[in-house]
């Protein structure tokens, strides 16, 4: 049980490193996605602590997991897709305006224009 949590923790740190440290905008968007995946996995893991069967009622289902985190994470995944799409569209726009995806180069070129 602890090893999954440590892996999720590392996943969150990887995503955060990409958001803060990467110079490329596309890599930053990937980092957002990885952080989102870490949060989703954490919720699913927490919800699955009190059971071991899929939350689909039927014969033999007596000890199902908590379906509430799963339903919440459905929302989180869709919002993650929306955020990714919008961020990528903005990245395309920045690339067309400045010809680069590196934030330092973009900063330089935008500053030299004004």
């Amino acid at each position: 049980m602890v090893i999954e949590r440590i892996l999720i923790f590392l996943l969150a740190l990887i995503g955060f490193t990409a958001i803060v440290g990467a110079k490329n905008i596309i890599k930053k968007v990937f980092g957002l996605n990885i952080l989102n995946a870490a949060v989703v996995l954490l919720y699913i893991l927490e919800g699955s602590r009190i059971g071991d069967q899929a939350p689909i009622l039927g014969k033999g289902v007596t000890n199902m997991v908590d379906p509430v985190p799963q339903a919440l994470m459905l929302t989180a995944i869709v919002i993650g897709v929306c955020v990714t799409a919008l961020a990528l569209a903005l990245a395309v726009r920045l690339y067309k305006a400045t010809g680069s995806l590196e934030i330092d180069t973009i900063n330089e070129r935008l500053r030299s224009e004004h």
Binding site: R49, I56, G58, D66, V92, K96
Partner: protein, 244 residues
């Protein structure tokens, strides 16, 4: 020097973040069982869906789903608004794209035989599977959102293929399907008002064998909405606005 400073900054930030989220992730606080037990007892009779995840997001928390589709709608609007005027002045940059329509594509350099042969034939199969996941969302793993994403990937397959004679990859058609499904969603949500069950309430009396039909209807509508909107975004990002 600058590089070292950067690495030190990143490490410090990560350490602070690790201290903040480590207790959250490693907490061994017992998970409450009340909601699970309540849903185990009542979900089937309240909403008619065997899949309790479906019964939450289309029954108990259907309002949340409406907000979610609104977020999706706003995101699509923003993305299309940003993307729609791009690429007009720099057509030569897109010449290397392998995803354009055949008549706009000057070279087939990046299109492998795999892409040529497989994608347009795989499209209909994936589309069928997407509708299966959508229609059986109330009794098996799946549902509107999952099926919708599979439908979107099927439409992307169709758009990548060469010899597809389908209107499904036309962004105008997809946009109309999306708008229509959102309208039907609002109408279906309001229909509960006239049957004394409230906004987003199930108009069919709970407990009857037909009450799952409302969940199926909402699953189909949401699947169509999600599928078409994500497909529109993907096709716009591929530069293949074939409707124009």
């Amino acid at each position: 020097m600058k590089r070292t400073l950067f690495i030190i900054k990143i490490t410090f930030t990560l350490l602070v973040l690790a201290l903040a989220i480590f207790p959250v992730i490693l907490s061994s606080h017992p998970w409450p069982e009340a909601s699970r037990d309540y849903l185990y007892e009542h979900a089937l009779t309240d909403t008619g869906a065997v899949n309790t995840v479906s019964s939450i997001y289309l029954g108990y928390r259907a309002m949340d789903t409406l907000g979610e589709t609104l977020v999706l709608l706003v995101s699509i609007t923003g993305t299309m608004g940003i993307l729609i005027n791009l690429g007009r002045e720099s057509e030569e940059e897109e010449a290397v794209s392998f995803s354009l329509a055949p008549e706009k594509r000057p070279t087939n350099a990046q299109r492998t035989h795999l892409l040529e042969v497989v994608s347009s034939k795989l499209g209909p199969v994936v589309l069928l599977f997407g509708f299966y996941v959508m229609l059986y969302g109330h009794i098996s793993p799946g549902g509107g959102f999952q099926g919708g994403v599979i439908v979107a990937s099927a439409i992307v397959f169709l758009a990548l293929g060469t010899e597809t004679q389908t209107k499904l990859t036309n962004t105008n058609v997809l946009g109309r399907i999306e708008a229509l499904s959102f309208l039907v969603l609002i109408v279906a949500a309001t229909s509960g008002v006239f049957f004394e069950s409230g906004f987003f309430g199930n108009p069919i009396k709970s407990g009857s064998s037909l009450s799952a039909n409302f969940i199926i209807l909402l699953n189909i509508i949401i699947g169509l909405k999600v599928g078409t909107s994500i497909a529109v975004m993907c096709i716009a990002m591929m530069g293949g606005r074939r409707g124009h």
